[in-house]
Structures are given as C-alpha cells and as structure tokens.
C-alpha cells in the first residue's frame, strides 16, 4: 500500500515557498506577545482599575486639599516636597502592588493554562518554536508589565496633578511648583526603579514560568512550598535564617542595590533617594540573577517541548 514506488524523485524547491519562508521569526514573536495581551487582559485592566479607584478616592478627598496645602506651605521646603509628593508616591505604590500580583499570576498560568485547556496542541500546530513561545511569554513580566506600570502611573499622576491644581486654584492657592513637585524627576526615578526591579527579579519570573511549565496542578503551591520548606528546615535544624535572608534579598534587594541609600519606610521606589546605576550594575547579585533567569528560561523551553497536555 501507500507505495508508489516510482514517485520517489524529489520535487525541485518551490521558489515561492522559499521566499515566504524567509519571513523573519520576529513576526511570530511579536504576534505571540500580542496574543498574550489578548489572552491576559488583566495585564492592563488591573492597573487601570487600581488607577481608577485611586482617582475616585483622590477626587473625593480633594475637598480637604486646600486646608492641608495651607498647612503644608508653612513647613520647611524639603518637608513641603515630601508632603506634596505623598499622593503621587502612593499612586505609584498601589499600582506597583497591583502589577506585582498580575506578575505572579500571569507567570504561574503562562505555560500551565495552555496545557490545561489543551490549546497547546493548537499552538504547537503552528510554525512557532517553543523558544519563541517561551520568550514571548517572558516578555510580559520583563518588558510589558514594567511599561504598563510606568504608563498607567504616569497618567494617573498627571490626572492627580490636574485635579489638585484645579481645586487649589479655585481656592486661591498656587499650583505646586517644579521644586515642590519635580514630576519629571519623579518619572525618571520611577522608570529607573522599575527597570532595576525587573532585572533584579528576573530569576523570580523565570522560576514562576518554570513551575508553570512543569506543574500538573496547584502552580502557586509548587512555586512557594519548596523555598518556604527550605526556610523552615533551616530554622528548625540550625536555628538560622540565612535562606530567608537570601530570599528576601532576592526579592527586595534591588531597592538597596539600585539606590544610594535605603528607601524611606515602605516605599519601594523613593524619588528622594538618589539613583545609583554604577552601584547597581556592578552588583554581582544582578548578573548572577540574570544568569539564573536565563537557565530557568532554557529549562522552561525544554519543558514546553517535552510536556504533554494535561
């Protein structure tokens, strides 16, 4: 059967096909990133929702703004800046917190969801390599989410500025000066801080993606239980906290490595704290972390290739 013994000669290479095959694989990559945004609309909807709630809250509270501002203007100029900046820092903090949750849940579902609903069989029936697929998924935490955080926070801060200026003017008060509210400097610090955080946290995203490609269920548990059990084990066996300190350093170490001094209080990105790119770039933790992240991603590509749908 199925043997047409005489028809074995190879066909000449199809010229048109060869031409269309030269289409760069960056196309597949860019379309796959776009596909991730279609699938995970929370990437931008969640920060937007937080921004909306912040703005509503700010508008409601704006009635008290003139009284507060009169008191603030009596203070020392340095304190004035801190006081006036507060809602802007708060907006950044809240939106960052939201995107961090999106970060976590996106990464944990990125390679798990497609196996669970078996759509991976469809994605794999298209000429998109596992490397391209994993890189497009890693692009969300490594580039898209910081960019979304920056853009949404920036717009929110502009709207806060406009609202407060309007309210202050209506009450015969001057708008915040460039010195009291150096918005451009704020944005510079935010952009730098977000980039520093993203690169520093890359191994965490890599780990989460790896777990999402590997786990058969309960990705959150698989991501958290191994490190937490190590912490507990060390505590019980040796009464020490080295692993915990290490994990904390991997999580928030960038706030110390990327800036000149420790940030104030709970602020992750403190605009008053001078940036220190040289210190950051010369930190071995950054480069080792990036190497580990690359190793995790390579393992993720391999897993996506080998793992069958659930």
């Amino acid at each position: 059967m199925i043997r047409e013994a005489d028809a074995v000669t190879d066909r000449p290479v199809d010229v048109q096909a060869a031409a269309s095959e030269s289409r760069p694989s960056t196309w597949a990559y860019l379309w796959s990133v776009r596909r991730e945004l279609w699938e995970n609309r929370s990437i931008y909807l969640a920060p937007l929702a937080t921004a909306g709630i912040l703005l509503v809250g700010f508008c409601v509270g704006a009635a008290r703004l003139p009284v507060g501002r009169r008191a603030t203007l009596l203070l020392d100029p340095a304190l004035q800046r801190a006081r006036i900046e507060r809602p802007y820092d708060f907006a950044l903090g809240m939106i960052m917190l939201t995107t961090m949750l999106v970060w976590l849940f996106y990464c944990l579902d990125a390679l798990y969801g497609e196996r669970r609903d078996r759509s991976i069989l469809f994605w794999k029936s298209l000429p998109v390599s596992d490397l391209t697929a994993v890189l497009s998924k890693a692009t969300i935490p490594l580039a898209i989410l910081p960019a979304v955080t920056f853009a949404v926070t920036g717009v929110t801060q502009v709207l806060i500025l406009l609202t407060s200026t309007l309210v202050l003017r209506m009450n015969g008060l001057p708008a915040a000066t460039e010195h009291q509210l150096p918005l451009i400097q704020l944005w510079g610090a935010m952009l730098y801080g977000l980039m520093a955080m993203t690169l520093w946290n890359a191994p965490i995203y890599g780990w989460l993606l790896l777990v999402s490609a590997w786990a058969r269920r309960a990705t959150l548990l698989w991501a958290l239980v191994p490190p937490l059990s190590l912490v507990a084990l060390e505590k019980i066996a040796f009464q020490t906290n080295y692993i915990f300190s290490f994990l904390r350093w991997r999580g928030v170490g960038w706030t110390m490595e990327a800036f000149a001094s420790k940030p104030r209080g709970t602020l992750m990105i403190d605009p008053m704290n001078p940036i220190a790119p040289a210190k950051y770039l010369s930190s071995p933790g950054l480069w080792i972390g990036l190497l580990v992240a690359a190793a995790f991603l390579a393992a993720t590509v391999r897993l996506r290739r080998h793992r069958a749908p659930l």
Binding site: A7, D10, E21, R34, L126
Partner: protein, 291 residues
C-alpha cells in the same frame, strides 16, 4: 515523493509501550485512514509524526526530523486534534489575525471565503460557538493554509452526523488535491470508507494491516453463505464468521471471488467488518493476520 517515513518507530510511556516498532511509508497524494481501538497507539504515532513527542527509531515527515524541527515542519503540516483544542478565550477575528501573523502559508482571503457560509460571527469567542462551529472554524483555518500534509486525529469526535458529513465533503471538494496528503484517525470508519485511498489497522502499538483501498477491495470478500454450502465455505478458511438473524456471513481474504459467488451472495465488506475480523472482538481469540 514520500511524505512520512518511519522505521522501527517506538514510543513508550513508562512501562507502557504505545507504539511498538512501526514501519510506515506514506506517499504524497494519499488519504490514509488509521483504524484501531482506543489505546492502540494511533494518537501517539501521529504526535510523533507531528513532533509533539519524542520517540525512538527513525522518522521523517516531509524530509525533516519532526522532534528536532517541529516549527519548520509545521509550515507544511496542519493538524486538527479534536474539537476541544482551539483556545476557548479567543475571538474568531483574533484567531484569524494570529494565524495570519505567524503562518507564512496562510491565506486570509481563503479563510474568509470558507467561513462565509458558516454563519460564524467574527466577534464571537470560541467558547461561544457550538462544537460543530468550532470544527468548521478549525477546518476553515486549516484549509486556508497551503500545507502538504494534513493530520486529523479524531477530528469529528462528538459531532452530529450532518457536521461530520459536511466536514469530509469540504475536505474532499475544497481542499484535497493530488499534491496533498491526509492522515486521519477516526472511530466512524464507515463514513470515511469512500474517502480513503489507503487504510491501516493498528492494535497494541503495532500495524496489523496496511493496504490501499484498491487492494482492500480486491482482497476481501464477504459472502452470505447458503446453509447447505456452509461446510464447503468453511473449507476455504474464512478469516471471520458471524451470524445475523440466523444467516451466516463469512469473510474471506484472497479467495477468488468467482469461486465464492457460488457459495452465496458475495460483496465487498466494510472496513469495520474486516477490522473486527483482523483485530478480533474478544481479546483472547485474536486471529493472527499474515501480511
């Protein structure tokens, strides 16, 4: 040109042997039906051909090693597994945009043409479509790709008979030509008997029969034997015998049809009947088939 070539193809999952040393050669322009019970290794074999799973042995699809070069192979191969595979969250228009974006051989106008009569709205999400519509959508996507090999793994599972018929009709009328190759597995054997050019039976990871449909028709004869001829008919060594309403149907392999016609009413059996004879219904009494 050879489309698929396997030598000693083997796939194990732990201690389970899914595909047990299969030799296979599928030439361009054929429509091959792979028939077998559940767990016979059909899907594993197809997944190996598609580069979805690793395997032992030698395997080439369109001259490429599927496991090493899946992304390249998929430019020329299309695959429909079953209706549940299209991403349910996706809008039809997003699906079309995405495939157009990543697939160099996809013709958007063709896909629109195939979708036009289906009544599938572009704004619908896949999860909002009926099972029948999902398979029509998937088929429209696949038929708009200028591929050399189309692999269908139970494509019409769980669909009603009208959609199944329509599926194979459009496949034959709008898609298939002699330069394409189709490999299909299905349990609805009867519906595709006229569609196939070749048939292959699999059981327990092995190929138990492979032949072209022309050979199949020449080889197998089923005779409704007259009671008085039964002993004479049995002497010709039928490969299977069954009783329906008190009448005996005997299935013969490579027995001269003129000779059989004397014993009763002779006709070409369905694939399903030969399958039962070759693979056997109760596992204990399996007849060994000589190829």
């Amino acid at each position: 040109m050879t489309c698929i070539e396997a030598r000693g193809l083997r796939k194990t999952f732990g201690a389970t042997v899914a595909v047990d040393g299969v030799d296979l050669r599928v030439e361009e322009g054929r429509i091959l039906g792979i028939i077998g019970p559940n767990g016979a290794g059909k899907s594993s074999m197809l997944h190996a051909i598609l580069g979805l799973i690793a395997y032992e042995g030698r395997l080439e699809g369109l001259g490429l090693d599927p496991w090493a070069r899946r992304d390249q192979l998929m430019r020329d191969v299309c695959f429909i597994a079953d209706v549940a595979v299209l991403p349910r969250w996706m809008q039809v228009t997003q699906l079309l945009d995405y495939v157009a974006g990543v697939h160099p051989r996809f013709d958007r106008a063709k896909a629109d043409h195939f979708l036009a009569p289906t009544g599938i709205r572009r704004a619908s999400k896949v999860r909002e479509l009926s099972k029948g519509m999902v398979i029509q959508l998937h088929l429209a996507l696949v038929m708009a790709i200028d591929a050399k090999l189309l692999v269908l793994d139970e494509p019409t599972l769980g669909l009603d008979i009208l959609v199944r018929k329509q599926f194979y009709d459009s496949l034959l009328n709008d898609y298939f030509d002699r330069s394409r190759t189709i490999v299909v597995t299905t349990h609805e054997v009867g519906e595709i008997q006229d569609v196939l050019t070749d048939v292959l039976f699999m059981n327990r990871g092995r190929i138990v029969l492979e032949c072209s449909m022309d050979d199949f028709e020449a080889r197998y004869t089923e005779v409704m034997v007259k009671p008085e001829q039964l002993a004479a008919a049995r002497a010709l060594q039928p490969i299977h015998e069954r009783q329906v309403f008190g009448r005996s149907f005997l299935l013969f392999d490579r027995v001269d049809r003129n000779r059989l016609a004397a014993l009763g009413e002779a006709r070409t059996p369905s694939i399903a009947e030969v399958f039962v004879a070759v693979v056997g219904d109760p596992p204990g009494e399996r007849l060994e088939i000589v190829r």
